[in-house]
Amino acid sequence: MAEDEFQADVLSVSERMAAEALIVDVEGFQGPLDLLLTLSRTQKVDLREISVLALAEQYLAFVEKARHLRIELAADYLVMAAWLAFLKSRLLLPPDPTEEGASGEELAAHLAFQLERLQAMRDAAAQLMARDQKGRDFFARGHVEVVEHKRRVTYTATLLDLMQGYARIRTRDEFRPFVMDRESVMTMEEALDRMRHLIGFAGEWTDIMSYLPEGWGNDPVRRRSATAANFAASLELAKAGAIEIRQGETFSPIQIRRKPND
C-alpha cells in the first residue's frame, strides 16, 4: 500500500491499473522497446510530443511492480530500466559540464525517435500485410504449359542449399565424435580376443598377470589398463564357461585355467 501511495505522485489510478494488466501480459511483449511503445499510448499524444520523462517513470513503475509481484523479467528489461533510471537522472539534474557523452535531452530525443520509428514500421507492416497477396487475393497461372518436343535438363540448387552445404563441410570437424587417445588403453574386447587364443594352452593354473601383452607390464598407465581389461575379459570367459578362476586369499594373485571339458 505504501508503495501505491508512492506511485500516486506519478501515476493515476487508471495508469496503475493499466500497468498491472501489462505485467500479466509481459510474455506478450517483444522486448522493452515494445513495452515502452505500449506505455506511451497512455499519454495519448503524438509520439513526437511524448514526455520521455513520464515514460521513464511509467517503465520504472512497471519494473518495480513486476518485482513486487515476483514476476521474472528478462535481462533486457532490467538493462532498459537501468538505462531509463540513468536517463531520468540526466533529465532531472542540471547538466554537469564535466560529464561526457550526450545530454539527457539528446538521449530522450533518440528514444522518442526509436519509438516513433518502431511504430512507423509496425504500421508499414500492417499496410503491407493488408495488400492483396498472391495465392490469396490474386493468382498466378495454375497450369504451366509443357511442350513435349524439346527437353533440356537443368540442375537447380538454391542459395540455401549452397550455404548449408558449405556450412556442413566447415562445421564437420565440430561434429566429429570425441575419440579418446587409445595409445595406452586396452579395451576388454582386445583382451578377450587375445585370451581366447591363449587360453587353449592354459591347462594349468596361471597367474592372470602373465597374460599381459608384451610391453604393457612396465608403464603404469598401460599396465593398469591392460590389467583391468584382462580381468574383465577373464570374468567374461568364466561366465561363458571357458575358464575357471581362483584366488587364494584377498590380494593374492588371481589364477585362471581352461575349464577341463569332458
Binding site: 497461372r141 509443357v146 540442375y155 549452397l162
Partner: protein
C-alpha cells in the same frame, strides 16, 4: 440452398438474385480458367460463380475474344482451359526444361569454389576431405556456374576455379563477397548447431561498450 425451382432454360422470369452482367461473368470465367491447374467443366464454373450465372454463355464470348490471340480458350474433353496458340509453341521451349536437384557433392564443390575462389582442385579436395570427381567439375562448368581462373603460381602451376556471372545471377547475389560467413549463417539460423562455445556474445553488462567496433573483437 434455395427453395425456388430450377429455372428452366429460356424462362423470362427474373431471378431473385440478379446474376452479374455477362461482361462480368466473362471476367470470372477468364480468371478461373487462368488460375486452375486443370481444365474446368461448366458444372464447376457454375458452382463457383454467383447464383444465376451462365458460364456456358460466358465461355462462348470468351472463346471469341481470344480467337487469333496468343492464347486460346480450348475445349479439353468436357472441360475448358486456356492454352498457348499452337503456332507459338516454338516460343515455349524454355518452359520444357526438366529440373533436377544438384547432387550434394556438386553443391559442396560449388560452395567451396564460391567461398574460396580462386581455388585449385587439390584445395577443394582438402576442404571436402574426399576427392572430387571429374564429372562434378564438368557439370558445374557445363552449367556455366564455374570457369577456369588463373593458374596458381605454385609448383605444377595448377588451374584454379572461380564462379561466373551466371552463378551470381542464378543465386541472386551481387558478388561472391556477399556470401554470408559461417557466423552470419549461424546468426540467420541456417546452421543448426549449438551456439559457439565462447560465452554470451551480448555485451549488455558492458559499461564501456559504446565503442562499436570493439565488441566484435572479443567474440569467439
Amino acid at each position: 440452398m434455395t427453395d425456388e425451382p430450377d429455372a428452366p432454360e429460356g424462362e423470362a422470369e427474373e431471378s431473385l438474385f440478379d446474376a452479374p452482367p455477362m461482361g462480368e461473368q466473362e471476367r470470372m470465367v477468364e480468371a478461373v480458367l487462368f488460375a486452375s491447374a486443370d481444365p474446368v467443366t461448366v458444372a464447376e464454373l457454375t458452382a463457383r460463380m454467383p447464383h444465376g450465372s451462365e458460364p456456358a454463355e460466358a465461355l462462348v464470348h470468351l472463346r471469341k475474344r481470344y480467337e487469333g490471340r496468343g492464347v486460346n480458350v480450348v475445349r479439353v474433353g468436357d472441360a475448358w482451359a486456356i492454352r498457348t496458340a499452337p503456332d507459338l509453341g516454338y516460343l515455349m521451349h524454355k518452359e520444357t526444361v526438366e529440373s533436377r536437384k544438384l547432387s550434394r557433392a556438386a553443391i559442396e564443390t560449388l560452395a567451396i569454389i564460391a567461398y574460396h575462389q580462386p581455388v585449385t582442385r587439390a584445395e577443394i579436395e582438402e576442404i571436402r576431405g574426399v576427392s572430387v570427381s571429374r564429372g562434378t567439375i564438368d557439370l558445374l562448368i557445363e552449367l556455366e556456374w564455374i570457369r577456369f581462373g588463373r593458374r596458381r603460381m605454385s609448383p605444377g602451376r595448377p588451374v584454379t576455379f572461380v564462379v561466373t556471372q551466371g552463378f551470381l545471377d542464378h543465386f541472386g547475389l551481387e558478388s561472391a563477397r556477399d556470401l554470408p560467413g559461417l557466423k552470419e549463417l549461424r546468426a540467420a539460423g541456417l546452421l543448426e548447431s549449438r551456439p559457439p562455445p565462447a560465452g554470451p556474445g551480448e555485451g549488455e553488462e558492458d559499461e564501456d561498450g559504446d565503442d562499436e567496433g570493439q565488441s566484435e573483437l572479443f567474440e569467439e
